[in-house]
C-alpha cells in the first residue's frame, strides 16, 4: 500500500499546480465569468500537454493513466479552472478507443487544437443535446444516440445557458449533418466507460475544490474576531469545519482510489467512479457551504472568493446527475457484481 504519488506524478502535480496558480487565480476566474471559458488558460493547458497526455502513444498522445489525469483534475478544481479540460480529455480518449476512420480523423482534429471536441453526457432530447459540458464553446460534440456514436458540429444553432456555476454548458441541436463514428454492440460499453472517466475526473476536481474551499474558510475564522476572540475558537464553528475536513479528506482518498481502480481493479471501477463523484459532490458542497456561512454577511458578497467555490461545488457535478442518482448508479453496479457471484 502506498498513498503517495510517484516522483513523476509529483512533478506533474507541481507543474500543473504552478500553471493554474499563474493562469487561474481568482481574478482570472472572475474575468472569465459568465461564459466560464478562459481561452488563454485553455491554450496554456494544451501547450503543456493537458489534452495530448490523455491519449495513448499510438494515437499520438503521451499515454497518461487515468490516475495521472486525476491528479491534474484535482488542481483544476482547486483553482476553479475555466477550461473544458475534463470533457475534452474524456472525448479524446473515447475517440482513440473507437476503431473507425471517422473517429481517427475526429481525434486528429481534436488533438491538433483545430476542433475543440467535447462529450455530451446524456442522449439527445427532441434532437437537442441539452446541458452539454463545454457545449457553449466547443466546436464539436461527441454523443450517443440509440446505440450509435456520433459527432456533430456545435454550430451556430447552439444556445449558451446562463447557469449557477458560470459553466460554458450549451444546448446543442444535432442538426442535419452529424457524422457516424461507430455502430455496434461495443459502443454502449465504450460510451459508459467514457462517462465513468468523466465521473472520476470530476470527483478529483471536486476533491481539490473542496480542499481549497475549506482552506479559505479556515483562514477566515482564524482572522475574524467576534466577542473578542477569533471565531474559529467557537466549537459551533470549529466542529463544522472539522466535519467538513473529514469529508474532504475521505472524499480525496475515494476519488484517488476510483482513478487508481480504472487500471488496477477494473471490476470495481464503475462502482467507485459513481461513488466518488457523488461523495465528493457532497463533500465539496459541505466544505464550501460551511466556509461561506462562517464568513457571515461577507460570504454573501460577490467580492469574496468563497462564493466562487460555493456555486461551482453544486454546479459542476450537476452536469451529470444529482448525488442521489449517482449513488443509485453505483449500487446498480454493486448488485450486478453480487449476482455475478462476487
Amino acid at each position: 500500500m502506498d498513498l503517495d504519488p510517484s516522483e513523476e506524478q509529483r512533478l506533474l502535480i507541481d507543474a500543473f499546480g504552478a500553471l493554474y496558480a499563474k493562469q487561474s487565480p481568482p481574478e482570472r476566474v472572475r474575468a472569465a465569468e459568465p461564459s466560464g471559458h478562459d481561452p488563454d488558460l485553455w491554450v496554456r493547458l494544451c501547450e503543456n500537454g493537458a489534452l495530448e497526455m490523455a491519449v495513448d502513444e499510438v494515437s499520438g498522445g503521451w499515454g497518461a493513466s487515468l490516475l495521472d489525469l486525476a491528479l491534474v483534475a484535482e488542481q483544476h478544481g482547486r483553482f476553479l479552472g475555466s477550461a473544458p479540460l475534463l470533457e475534452a480529455q474524456v472525448a479524446a480518449r473515447l475517440l482513440a478507443r473507437v476503431d473507425s476512420p471517422a473517429a481517427t480523423a475526429a481525434l486528429t482534429a481534436a488533438l491538433s487544437g483545430e476542433q475543440l471536441t467535447t462529450l455530451a453526457l446524456h442522449p439527445p432530447r427532441a434532437g437537442v443535446l441539452t446541458m452539454t459540458p463545454s457545449g457553449a464553446v466547443a466546436d464539436r460534440v461527441v454523443f450517443l444516440d440509440q446505440g450509435q456514436l456520433w459527432w456533430t458540429a456545435a454550430g451556430e444553432a447552439r444556445t449558451a445557458v446562463a447557469n449557477l456555476g458560470c459553466l460554458p454548458v450549451g444546448d446543442v441541436p444535432i442538426g442535419n449533418t452529424p457524422v457516424l463514428l461507430a455502430d455496434g454492440p461495443e459502443v454502449n460499453d465504450l460510451f459508459e466507460r467514457a462517462r465513468d472517466e468523466w465521473l472520476v475526473l470530476m470527483a478529483n476536481a471536486l476533491a481539490g475544490m473542496g480542499a481549497r474551499a475549506l482552506e479559505i474558510g479556515v483562514a477566515y475564522v482564524k482572522e475574524r474576531h467576534a466577542f473578542g476572540v477569533p471565531i474559529g475558537s467557537f466549537q459551533a464553528v470549529a466542529h463544522g469545519l472539522a466535519d467538513a475536513a473529514t469529508s474532504v479528506d475521505g472524499g480525496g482518498l475515494l476519488a484517488r482510489e476510483a482513478a487508481w481502480a480504472a487500471a488496477e481493479e477494473p471490476d470495481r471501477a464503475p462502482e467507485l467512479a459513481a461513488l466518488a463523484c457523488a461523495f465528493n459532490a457532497e463533500a465539496a458542497r459541505e466544505a464550501s457551504y460551511r466556509s461561506l456561512h462562517y464568513h457571515g454577511g461577507y460570504g454573501f458578497m460577490l467580492e469574496y472568493d468563497i462564493q466562487l467555490y460555493f456555486r461551482r461545488a453544486k454546479a459542476w457535478p450537476a452536469q451529470f446527475a444529482e448525488p442521489a442518482a449517482l449513488y443509485a448508479r453505483a449500487e446498480g453496479h454493486r448488485l450486478s457484481a453480487r449476482h455475478g457471484g462476487r
Binding site: Q235, A238, A242
Partner: protein
Amino acid sequence: MTVDFRLGERSEVFRQEARDFLDEVLTDEVREEMERTGVHHSWHFHRNLVERGWLAPGWPEELGGQGRDPLEMLAFMEEFHRAGAPTYAVGTTLMVAGIIRHIGTEEQKQLVIPPALRGEIIIVLGFTEPESGSDVAAAQTRAVRDGDEWVINGQKMFTTNAQEADYVFMLTRTDPGVAKHKGLTTFLVPLRQPGVEIQPVRTLSGERTNLTFYSDVRVDDSLRIGEVDGGWDVMGVGLTLERAGDHGGELIRLLEAMEEWATTTVDDGGGHPADDPAVRSRLGRAAAENEVTTLLCRRSAWISASGGMPGVEGSMSKLFASEALTRRSADFVDLLGPDGIRSQGDPTAPAGGAADYDFRFALGTTTYGGTSEVQRNIIAQRGLGLPRAR
C-alpha cells in the same frame, strides 16, 4: 513507489487465513451466546485465538507474537470486525500489556506479558467515572499510600468485561491539591479481592458493561505503573499505542445484510426492493460511506506502517466511522418500513435485525474511545490549526 490501494500480498494471504479461521471458530453457538448474555467475550473463542498464535500477531515473536506489520494487522482486524468477532477484551488487555512493555518494570513485564499473550489473563480499563467521561483527567477515585501498599476508594464506570477480568488498569487521584493532570497515578489493580464490587450495567444494544466500586481495595506499590503523580504521561503512552484503523467493519456487515434483503425480498408486485432506484440510492450512499470509512482507516494504518503517528487521521477515522454508522442505521430502519422496528433476535426481523441492532449499537461508538466532540476538537486544533475551542 507509486499509488497503490492494495494492502499487499502478505496482508491478503493473512486476511484469507483469518476468514477461514473465523468461519470455523465463530460458530452460531458463540454468536448466540454473545447475543443472549450481552458479554462480547468468549473464552472458547479466546483460547482458539491463542492456540492459533493470533492473540497478538502484531507483537514481536520473542514476546509471543508473530511480528506482523501494521498492514497485515489491518487486513486481519478488518476481517474480525466484519465478522463481529469478540475482540474487545483482547484489545484492552493488549493495550495495557503494551504500556507495561514500554514503561513497566522488569517485574511487571514478567507478571503481565507472558500470561496476557498466553490468553490466561484479561485486563480491563478503569478511566471513566460516573462524574468524568471525556474529561478523563478529572478522575476522583483516590489512592492513598500505606507503607508498601496503596488503598483505593472510588467508582469506575463502563468497566466492560470486569466480571471476566483479572486486573483493572486504573487511573487514580493521588494528589488532590495540584492541577488535575498533575495529581494522577495509574495502577494495575487485582480485581479478585475483597472490597471490589461489580454491578452489571445493560446498554442500548444489549451489551453488558459494569459499574465497579472500590472500598479500601489494596494494591501493592509494585503494581504502580509509571511514576507517582505521573499518570497523565502513562495515559499518553496508551494513546500512542491505540490501534489505528480499528473503527470499521460494522457498516459493511449492515450494508451486506441490507443488500441481501433488497435483492431477495419479493414485494407485492413480484419484484424486489432493489428494483427501485430510490432504494438503490440509499444502499449506494451506505456503500460510499463504508468505502470512505475503510479508506480513512487504511490511511491511518499506512501512516503507522510508514513509521508515522496517525493522530488527526485516527480521529477522522473514528469520527467518520461512528457517525456514518449512526446515520445509515437510522436510514435503514426507515427503509425497511414498519418491519424495520422488528428487533434482532425476533425470527421475523428483516435483514436479520441488523438495522435495528446497529441503530442501537451505533450510539455507543460515537462515545467510547473519545466522543465525536472530542475528535472534532482534535481535528480542528491539531489538523486545521484553529485556536483552542471554547
